[in-house]
């Protein structure tokens, strides 16, 4: 079976501490994979390695059959991999809509155009549609700095999804989002992504979110994959519960 | 969103222009700049530009002092044909562009009748075309570049001093008279036009006068470098018979301070073509036996009993606590030249106040008296020629600084190229 993403023996250490230790995993198209693990288990490092922000000490990363090990983020993104961040990475001095328009122009490969306007009617319409599922449409014209923390988080995800990736990595997508909004947003997001056939990997602390939306769960502990399987199975594993939640 | 800001921008421009309009209006609507008054004016307003800030203040202030002193003296004596002189002082600092703007301000806003000024060659070269454009009599008093009148012709621009070639040629001749058996020479000059031109003329003159002379080192530290340890080592290694330097300001003092203890001045005969201006600053630290040039015959002890010279030196000293240095003399030559030209023109016009054209005509080829009691000649090319003085430093208990010994005066004709001949061509044409 063809995979979207494979890692082989992926290893990364910081000052002698192994953050990711010999991780090998294969992810099939359309899968929605949740990654769980305690703080410092290596989840974010894994995402950083896959998207090229960090260079692995050892191991390989294969995306759609192509070796992307140590390719910089820009190239990895260009191949159809997008991500969101634990701390939202957005353009704080611009408006919500402008943030999305920039993402759209980037996806179209028009970022370096210097004469045509960024804001065209077509792009604006598309941008507003994109913001819809995140409940950000009404804030479109507001400067990002006026958004609440949860809004920033959602915008961060919106920016990633605006790139129309084939593989989307979400780093704690619901942290900071109010529990009232959480499930609503995830429902719409996941259904859209599924409809587009996007493969999703998300790091998450909220076990209810993982149970509800992940088709498969990777449990990280001390840089290694402790368990890999259906959410019901993995999250019921006492070893996982101990390592991830701190209690069995 | 963005277009809106571009639109509002226009409003601002409007507001701004309105402001500019008000400011401009308040400054007074100027008439055409070339309008001329023929009736005898209430006063002759002269813009005087020299460095009042920055490193070249060492020249700027002594020249301003000279202008102040001399204009007051003239005004006490009745001005120029009864018209008092009113000076407007301006700072030369800020670069060529600033000087062009400042020149326009002086002419169009302050409405000066003429401008005397400019120590920096770049400023002279920049201002001269503007003087032509605005048809304003402009007297360059101190800048040394030979490019100005050799490369262009000007109607309204004069220079009441000789150009740089004089120092270099006089230095070469003097060196050969005190050290006839010179074999090797070296140069340490600031890496810019003045340094380059000075060295080029000196080297040419030396090679022409004594073809077997060898150049053993040509050093180009940058202007205002201040620190010359490596250059001094190089000169100590090369051991040339003669070292030429056209350094000025802090640089020349740095060279003396660092070179003297290391024996540079006792090892070689050092020629400082602009050295006269710093003798009072360096005081007793100045080594003896160094060749000093004065960029002309400007030395307060030369012809000291001439009444004109004595009056200047004593008056200047009493007022400013120092002896005049060569930029002071240059300023004297400029102010005195203007007075002489206007008086000559008035005489020619039967006592009527001259038009600008008449004044310019009078200026061409004029001869007048200046310290140290000699005749100053402005030739047809609008450039002055001067004699040159060279001497060796020597300490004298009467003065707290070194004075010149074994002084030689080179007549103007010996150290200035003939009218219409370019400096380097002139040197190359020497027979020997």
């Amino acid at each position: 079976m063809a995979t979207v993403l494979e890692t082989h023996g992926l290893t990364k250490s910081f000052g002698g501490v192994l953050a990711v230790d010999d991780v090998s995993v294969a992810i099939a198209p359309g899968e929605i994979v949740g990654i769980v693990g305690a703080n410092g288990a290596g989840k974010t490092t894994f995402v950083n390695l896959v998207t090229g922000y960090l260079k692995p000490d050892r191991g390989r990363i294969i995306y759609l059959g192509r070796d992307i090990t140590a390719h910089p983020p820009r190239e990895v993104t260009g191949l159809g991999v997008a991500r969101s961040f634990q701390i939202p990475q957005i353009y704080a001095s611009l408006t919500v809509l402008e943030n999305v328009l920039i993402a759209l122009a980037a996806r179209e490969g028009q970022s370096l155009r210097a004469w045509a306007p960024l804001s065209t009617r077509v792009r604006e319409a598309e941008g507003l549609i994109l913001l819809e599922p995140f409940g950000l449409t009404e804030h479109a014209a507001r400067p990002v700095s006026e958004l609440p923390q949860g809004g920033l988080k959602l915008l961060d995800i919106a920016l990633a999804s605006a790139l129309m990736p084939r593989l989307l990595l979400l780093d704690e997508p619901t942290s900071g989002v109010s529990s009232a909004e959480k499930f609503g947003v995830m429902d719409t997001l996941v259904s859209i992504l599924q409809a587009r056939g996007v493969t999703v990997i998300f790091v998450e602390h909220d076990m209810d979110v993982v149970t509800n939306y992940a088709g498969r769960v990777l449990a990280f502990s001390e840089g290694k994959i402790l368990a890999d399987g259906a959410p019901g199975v993995v999250l019921a594993d006492p070893a996982v519960r101990k390592a991830v939640l701190g209690w069995a | 969103m963005q277009t809106a800001s571009f639109r509002t921008s226009a409003k601002c421009l409007l507001a701004l222009l309105a402001l500019a309009g008000v400011v401009g209006g308040a400054m007074g609507l100027a008439g055409p700049p070339w309008a001329e008054a023929q009736a005898k004016p209430a006063e002759l307003k002269i813009g005087i530009v020299s460095f009042l800030s920055g490193p070249a203040t060492v020249f700027g202030v002594p020249s301003k002092n000279a202008a102040e002193w001399l204009i007051e003296k003239y005004n006490r004596e009745g001005g120029i044909g009864g018209v008092k002189i009113r000076p407007v002082y301006a700072d030369e600092a800020g670069g060529a562009e600033k000087q062009v703007a400042e020149f326009r301000r002086l002419v169009l806003d302050e409405k000066v009748d003429l401008v005397i000024g400019y120590i920096s060659s770049a400023d002279c070269l920049a201002v001269a075309p503007v003087a032509e454009e605005l048809r304003k009599l402009t007297v360059l008093f101190d800048c040394g570049t030979n490019r100005i009148f050799e490369d262009s012709k000007y109607k309204y621009v004069f220079r009441t001093k000789a150009h740089q070639v004089l120092d270099s040629v006089a230095a070469a001749k003097y060196v050969l008279s005190v050290k006839p058996n010179v074999k090797t020479i070296a140069g340490i000059n600031q890496d810019y036009a003045w340094g380059r031109d000075s060295w080029e003329s000196f080297r040419r003159a030396m090679l022409k006068l004594k073809p077997d002379v060898q150049v053993v080192a040509e050093l180009w530290p940058k202007l205002l470098a201040g620190e010359y340890s490596a250059e001094i080592s190089r000169l100590l290694v090369a051991k040339p018979d003669v070292i030429h330097s056209s350094f000025w300001n802090g640089d020349i003092i740095g060279l003396v301070k660092q070179g003297a203890p290391r024996g540079l001045f006792s090892q070689s005969l050092v020629v400082l073509t602009a050295g006269e201006h710093m003798l009072q600053d360096v005081g007793k630290d100045m080594p003896e036996g160094v060749v000093i040039g004065a960029r002309g015959d400007h030395w307060f002890l030369h012809n000291a009993n001439d009444p004109l010279h004595k009056e200047f030196v004593d008056g200047y000293r009493a007022r400013y606590g120092r002896y005049p240095i060569y930029p002071s003399y240059h300023m004297y030559q400029a102010v005195a030249g203007v007075k002489a030209a206007y008086e000559k023109a008035m005489k020619a016009a039967g006592g009527a106040w001259p038009s600008l054209d008449q004044a310019i005509k009078a200026f061409e080829g004029i001869e007048y008296r200046v310290p140290p009691g000699r005749t100053m000649t402005i030739r047809g090319d609008h450039n002055g020629i001067e004699p040159a003085i060279m001497g060796l430093t020597k300490h004298d208990p009467k003065y707290p600084f070194a004075i010149l010994d074994r002084m030689m005066v080179f007549p103007a004709a010996e150290v200035n190229p003939p009218l219409g001949v370019k400096s380097n061509d002139w040197i190359d044409s020497w027979k020997k």
Binding site: Q89, A92, L118 | Q2, R7, A10, L14, G28, T145, Y192
Partner: protein, 322 residues
């Protein structure tokens, strides 16, 4: 909102009429200010991308010296051709240096520009038989589209020439700011990581902006050279660049007219400061800049915008009550 389209026209009319009512030396200062505003625009362009260049004077010098040399050694006199040539040369210089400099941000970007501009300065001094060294090069009066301006109308003609050459620069920058690249540059300032994670190369964005900014700097140098009539290596000295940075901050880098406002204000202030405050002029600049950075990050332009906003509110409340 209210007759927005008419306003640029009115502004053009006012700028067009200005020299007819202003005294000659004021027109000259205005010419200089307009010419240099393009340089300030170039600095402001980078500032909006979070980059500050303490060496942009080198492009100013590149443009000016290209014109100077083409005149001195190539015997060219046509202003339009010379301008084109100069801008091209400055852009080429920026394109070359950009390869090295676009890798850097912040301090390195600022100081590398400074250091390289000092090399340019040194070279201009050094090659004195070509460049005239510190004596500089005289820029003779050019012909404009083949016509040699008369001495009496020269200043007027140079003013209008400068104005006409400046317009496309401002328009181009306006287009730039609304374009994807312009936004990408602001995005770089906000968050480089996200820019790269959008598949856009930060280095290329900066490179493009740098080349544009270099070309603008060149244009400013050319126009200044024409109006001053003499160019010297000091144009490339880092303190010249610093002055432009000051003006950009003063006018406010975030608006299109800011540089023009700043430049005009600065040029007029400067011409008086030398006379009345020779020893405290730099200090005044420093204190002003500190005040702007700490209390008014938008520059002078914010004052206008604030007033405009207040004006609208007054009008609104007046309408409501009346």
């Amino acid at each position: 909102m209210r007759g927005g389209k008419a306003l640029p026209l009115v502004a053009a009319a006012v700028f067009g009429a200005a020299p007819l009512v202003l005294p000659g030396w004021v027109t000259f200062l205005l010419t200089l200010a307009v010419a240099k505003s393009v340089m300030v625009l170039a600095i402001a362009l980078l500032l909006r991308g979070g980059l500050v260049s303490f060496g942009h004077g080198m492009f100013f010098a590149a443009g000016a010296y290209t014109v100077g040399m083409a005149m001195k050694w190539g015997g060219m006199r046509e202003a339009v051709v010379l301008t084109f040539l100069g801008v091209l040369a400055a852009a080429a210089a920026a394109a070359l240096l950009g390869l090295l400099i676009a890798r850097y941000r912040g301090i390195f970007f600022a100081m590398l520009n400074m250091a390289i501009s000092m090399v340019v300065y040194a070279v201009l001094l050094k090659l004195y038989w070509v460049t005239g060294g510190t004596d500089g090069i005289g820029i003779r009066t050019p012909t404009i589209l083949g016509v040699m301006p008369e001495r009496e109308s020269l200043r007027l003609v140079m003013y209008y020439f400068t104005l006409v050459m400046t317009l496309p620069a401002f328009y181009a920058v306006h287009r730039f700011w609304t374009s994807p690249l312009g936004f990408a540059l602001r995005a770089v300032r906000d968050n480089e990581v996200r820019v790269e994670y959008m598949g856009t190369s930060v280095a290329r964005v900066i490179y493009a902006a740098y080349v544009l900014s270099g070309a603008l700097g060149g244009l400013a140098g050319i126009l200044t050279g024409f109006s001053v009539g003499h160019i010297v290596p000091d144009l490339a000295y880092w303190t010249t660049s610093g002055e432009f940075v000051f003006v950009a901050v003063l006018g406010g880098p975030a608006s299109i007219p800011g540089p023009l406002v700043g430049s005009i204000a600065f040029e007029f202030l400067k011409s008086y400061a030398y006379k009345y405050a020779a020893f405290t002029w730099q200090m005044t600049l420093g204190v002003t800049m500190l005040a702007i950075i700490l209390f008014m990050p938008g520059g002078l332009w914010t004052i206008y915008e604030g007033l405009a906003r207040q004006g609208r509110q007054w009008r609104l409340s007046w309408k409501r009550t009346g």
